[in-house]
């Protein structure tokens, strides 16, 4: 065991058992998976992506490139999870990745010996030809050799939630700067949200000690948290990562609600995706330590120096027994002191500088460490774990020093990612030896290490001031904030350190990119950082180059001779850390992918055994099969036969219904439709077509005038929303002077189409006594308001889609189901059957009525045979452009009916129409088939189509070819109405 006594923020009274690669271990509450592995002496955590080199634990946070695991088993298995971010729980199971057959013995590690096989640009150069080898050979082989972890193969059993949050001040990060900001803003009464990725607040205070206001830093963090929790307007959100910054103060965050438990509580989601809207943001996301590029810097046992302090002080674990500290500046010396104070042997300190502050000599002496001033690491030794390093002295002399821990202090990169999501570019700061935030998103302030202020005292002061300013800006003024007092650590920030002569010096540990790869990219001309990134895949792994990204750019800068400011960084885009797709999808998956709209009588249709289909968000009945019917065609043949001889009822509640009230309703309708409505008498219904302003048909439907100033307009189901928006545009923007108000009542009314010679008796059977439906009083295209079911308002329209005498009856939605049940009872004597969309559609093709195939956005009213409706006496939407020469060209494809010459032939929608003797080639194309149906009434297939010259070609025979489905038939061109063109049946 490497657990230290008498320190740390782990609960020794709460041991937790867990498994890694099947082996049982014990950790403590407060551990991460990484700290628990280290406490159990596990140092080999995974194998690398390309070379399968053994890798250990590099960091103690979300920047981890090496220790990626598959977490949990079965349906909850999740790949590529940094062990350094996993909060340990009892029963946790994790497995290492990229190893076969086992972590310790990995066959693919031989690729490590064949390094030149995988140089930069490898994919582009090697797998170019022949293309068919990709699927069969290259890709499977590469995936097996180089894949990351495996995703679960079963459906995710967990729920994900989505929520919105509004606040005055969003504080991101809970280290010294973040806590100071939240306190300052909270004390002024602002609504503050504090987001922290970790489960424990405090950031580096938990690792680095120090004193704030005379308290140990970790205790100060506890006191600050307690004060914040007591503020009613402050919301603390631990385990919540702000991953993206969006326009106008919008932030994306994911809260890991249940990831620290074996599985979510029954009433809890696994994760919750927050959209946070904040007037002001304070970014206090700290900094991430950089790797140093030397030979063998990926050996298990190499660890970031700040992470070493985190393991020692927070988790009471030592990552090694004998350490070498490699430092580019003063920060590594804090690790020397920390190691020594925990009694860990420090064999050597390799400081890049030939001369260093005097005080370090004393620290080295008390730690018993040999100091190599101006030295560097020439290489590391060890297989799956470090056992020594070669130190190259300033003189060039090499010394081999035994050690199992190599702490590297290569300076810190401010966590600038969130400042870049709206296009801000980081700028190079010579003072901070790092890229610091450039132009900030509006409303955001950056404080502490995130802006390159690495001292504790500076972080507290900047945080407190920014918190107070943010509160002030949102209307919460007050006196100057109390600034918690602490000293800044001595010393200047460390510069980037690249040992340019090194071999196998990694700048991207997760994607196995080395200094040699950067050199290849340079040699081959991929020098700009964005090209470098794509050519070498540097910084493109799941860690997005958090520890090595800047190193690679510095390596390129060294080769090009440009400075870091000129070299710049690649663009940072959301998310800051990976976000589970499930969290983004939230509840919208499976049957809840989108809302489901139920019609008022859907329960009745389902009870009748209707076969349902999705139409937009609706579920509608297709047909109502009966026992013994061989197939759907048998069913609709029966349904249509029953309608044409008796009566049928179909629910049509999904039609768009817009109610208009006001003296100018008629004038608005005249402006919307090609034909005139203002002349329509009360109690009558009229069919109309509306165009878009570009002259093409938008929708068709009927409009009824129920009272002098009350109208009801119907739209097709699919266009209901668009027509309503169009009408609102026209009224609000173009004709605001018209005195009319309208609203969608689509959901307010249940509506049924009752068709067939006996339909009048069926309607009469549900209306209250006294309604006069006699043809003289209620002829074709009449409408009226009655009552049904004993006093329920009922609107009746005598309109027909089927060509039969037909009525539509609408009652308030809540009475829809009762109405249809009553109709089925009283209608039984008249042969009433239920029918669905398929019969509806077949009968409309028999009558040549328009559907979605005809009003397809490319047809005009003229194309569809409604030129006579286009009024020449008024202005209307689309009138001007409908007169364009191209739209009135008589050669345009226009609506025709189609009948197969061979009456046994089947027609197919989408077939192209060509002259009878022309070859099936696009230059002979004259149109296409828009709708087809088998007509049980006629006993053969019929169709509608758009054909050049249209109506002038009645009687001609053309070819309907559908090479995709292998159909090629001769069809006769006929008028689009196949049944009762005089309309004798619908008048009764």
């Amino acid at each position: 065991m490497t657990r230290l006594a008498g320190c740390g923020l782990v609960d020794r009274a709460q041991p937790l058992s867990f498994r890694f690669d099947g082996n049982a271990y014990t950790g403590l509450a407060g551990d991460t998976l990484a700290s628990a592995l280290l406490a159990n002496g596990v140092r080999l955590a995974g194998r690398s992506f390309k070379y399968h080199r053994p890798r250990g634990i590099l960091s103690a946070g979300p920047e981890e490139p090496n220790a990626l695991v598959e977490l949990r088993r079965g349906a909850r298995r999740e790949p590529n999870i940094p062990a350094t971010t996993v909060e340990l729980f009892s029963g946790l199971e994790a497995d290492s990745q990229n190893r076969w057959p086992s972590l310790r013995f990995d066959v693919m590690a031989v690729t490590g010996l064949l390094g030149p096989l995988f140089p930069a640009g490898f994919y582009y150069k090697t797998f170019m030809w022949p293309a068919r080898f990709w699927e069969r050979l290259y890709e499977p082989a590469i995936r097996r050799a180089a894949g990351l972890g495996r995703a679960a193969e079963a459906e995710d059993p967990d729920r994900y939630d989505r929520a919105h949050l509004y606040c005055d001040v969003l504080v991101i990060g809970s280290g010294a700067a973040g806590l100071a900001a939240a306190l300052a803003a909270g004390r002024r009464g602002a609504r503050v949200v504090l987001c922290e990725s970790d489960w424990r607040l405090g950031g580096r205070l938990l690792a680095d000690g120090g004193e704030i206001d005379g308290l140990p830093a970790a205790d100060w963090a506890v006191a600050a948290e307690a004060e914040l929790r007591a503020m009613p307007e402050v919301r603390m959100m631990p385990r919540t990562t702000v991953f993206g910054v969006y326009d106008h103060g919008t932030y994306g965050a994911v809260q890991r609600v249940s990831d620290h438990e074996p599985e979510p509580d029954a009433n809890e989601p696994r994760q919750r995706y927050w959209r946070i809207t904040a007037e002001r943001g304070v970014l206090a996301a700290g900094a991430i330590e950089r790797l140093v590029a030397f030979s063998g810097n990926d050996r298990p046992g190499v660890m970031l120096s700040g992470a070493v302090r985190q393991y020692l002080n927070r988790y009471a674990v030592t990552p090694g027994r004998r350490a070498i500290v490699v430092t580019a500046g003063d920060d590594g010396w804090r690790t020397v002191t920390a190691l020594a104070s925990h009694g860990i042997e420090v064999a050597a300190v390799v400081d890049r500088r030939a001369e260093m502050p005097e005080r370090h000599a004393a620290a080295a002496a008390s730690a018993g460490a040999r100091v190599f001033a101006g030295g560097r690491i020439g290489g590391t030794l060890g297989g799956s774990s470090l056992f020594a390093a070669d130190i190259v002295e300033a003189s060039g002399e090499r010394t081999r020093v035994a050690a199992d821990l190599l702490a590297v202090a290569g300076g810190w990169n401010p966590t600038v990612q969130l400042t870049c999501h709206l296009g801000g570019k980081p700028v190079w700061s010579a003072a901070a030896e790092a890229f610091v935030p450039g132009a900030l998103p509006p409303g955001m302030a950056v404080v502490g290490a995130a802006r390159g202020s690495f001292g504790l005292g500076s972080a507290l002061a900047e945080g407190a001031r920014a918190g107070a300013e943010a509160a002030e800006a949102t209307g919460f003024s007050g006196s100057a904030p109390a600034i918690p007092f602490a000293l800044d650590a001595e010393g200047a920030p460390a510069p980037i350190w690249i040992d340019s002569g090194a071999r196998k010096a990694f700048v991207d540990l997760q994607h196995d990119v080395t200094l040699e790869d950067i050199a290849i990219a340079h040699r081959e001309g991929f020098r700009a950082v964005e090209l470098l990134k794509r050519y070498t895949t540097h910084g493109m792994a799941t860690d997005q180059g958090k520890t090595g990204g800047v190193l690679g750019m510095a390596a390129m800068a060294a080769l090009t001779g440009m400075d870091m400011a000129e070299t710049g960084t690649t663009v940072f885009r959301p998310p800051y850390t990976p976000v589970a797709i499930g969290a983004l999808a939230g509840p919208n998956r499976g049957k809840d992918y989108r809302p489901r709209r139920r019609t008022p009588a859907q329960g009745w249709a389902e009870e009748q055994g209707a076969v349902m289909t999705e139409v937009g968000l609706w579920h509608r009945a297709l047909w109502f099969p009966r026992p013994g019917e061989a197939d759907w065609q048998a069913t609709i043949t029966r349904e249509i036969g029953a309608i044409r001889t008796g009566a049928g009822v179909a629910e049509v509640s999904t039609l768009g219904k817009i109610e208009l009230v006001g003296p100018d309703a008629g004038a608005l309708l005249d402006f919307l439709y090609i034909n005139t409505f203002s002349t329509l008498p009360v109690g009558r219904t009229r069919f109309g077509i509306m165009l878009r302003e570009d002259g093409f048909a938008m929708d068709d439907g009927t409009t009824a005038r129920l009272e002098q100033d009350r109208w009801i307009l119907t739209t097709s189901t699919g266009h209901a929303g668009a027509v309503m928006e169009h009408m609102e545009y026209v009224h609000q923007m173009l004709r605001p002077e018209l005195k009319v108000a309208f609203t969608s009542v689509s959901d307010r009314w249940a509506q049924f189409s009752v068709a067939g010679p006996n339909s009048r008796q069926v309607i009469a059977g549900v209306l209250d006594p006294g309604a006069d439906l006699a043809d003289a009083a209620f002829p074709h295209m009449a409408c009226g308001v009655f009552t049904a079911l004993g006093g329920v308002p009922a609107r009746v329209f005598r309109i027909s889609f089927s060509g039969e005498r037909a009525y539509e009856i609408a009652v308030p939605a809540g009475f829809g189901e009762e109405l249809v049940r009553r109709m089925m009872q009283t209608g039984a004597a008249f042969g009433l059957v239920p029918y669905g969309l398929e019969s509806l559609g077949t009968m409309r093709v028999e009558k040549g009525h328009l559907g979605g195939g005809e009003i397809n956005g490319q047809t005009t009213a003229r194309d569809l045979g409604f030129a006579r409706l286009m009024s020449s006496r008024k202005d209307y939407i689309g009138r001007a452009l409908a007169q364009r020469p191209a739209l009135i060209d008589p050669r345009r494809p226009a609506l025709v009916g189609l009948r197969p010459v061979d009456r046994m032939a089947t027609l197919r929608g989408g077939a192209h129409l060509l002259p009878e003797d022309a070859p099936v080639r696009i230059e002979h194309d004259q149109g296409h088939v828009t709708s087809v149906a088998y007509s049980p009434t006629l006993g053969h297939w019929i169709g509608l189509g758009l054909l050049e010259g249209g109506p002038s070609r009645h009687g001609e025979v053309v070819r309907a070819a559908n090479p995709l489905e292998g159909f090629d038939d001769l069809v006769e061109i006929v008028p689009p109405c196949f049944l009762d063109p005089q309309g004798a049946r619908l008048r009764g």
Binding site: R275, T277, E725, R879, A880
Partner: protein, 89 residues
């Protein structure tokens, strides 16, 4: 992204639908074909300030004219579209 509705206040962008340039004015019925063509088909695509038509579909359902900077997404103002030429909110 958030948008200011003169009737409902600052609301998330998903409540609105954008319909592009707001400046074209519908010509008189007898205007020349070219004028109609330009009204229907020609739209500016400026790098900078842009007057846009938005409808607050999941809100008050009013059509609005917003001035947005296409370079930054900053929304500089919004008024009810029905108040074209006066009475800005």
């Amino acid at each position: 992204m958030r948008l200011p509705c003169p009737h409902c206040g600052s609301r998330p962008a998903d409540e609105f639908t954008c319909y592009g340039a707001a400046d074209p004015v519908r010509p008189a019925a007898g205007a020349p074909a070219q004028v109609w063509h330009d009204y229907v088909h020609i739209r500016p695509n400026p790098y900078g300030l842009h007057n846009e038509l938005w409808q607050h579909v999941h809100g008050c359902r009013r059509w609005l004219v917003m001035t947005r900077d296409t370079r930054t997404h900053a929304v500089l103002g919004a008024r009810d579209g029905g108040s074209r030429g006066g009475g800005a909110a």
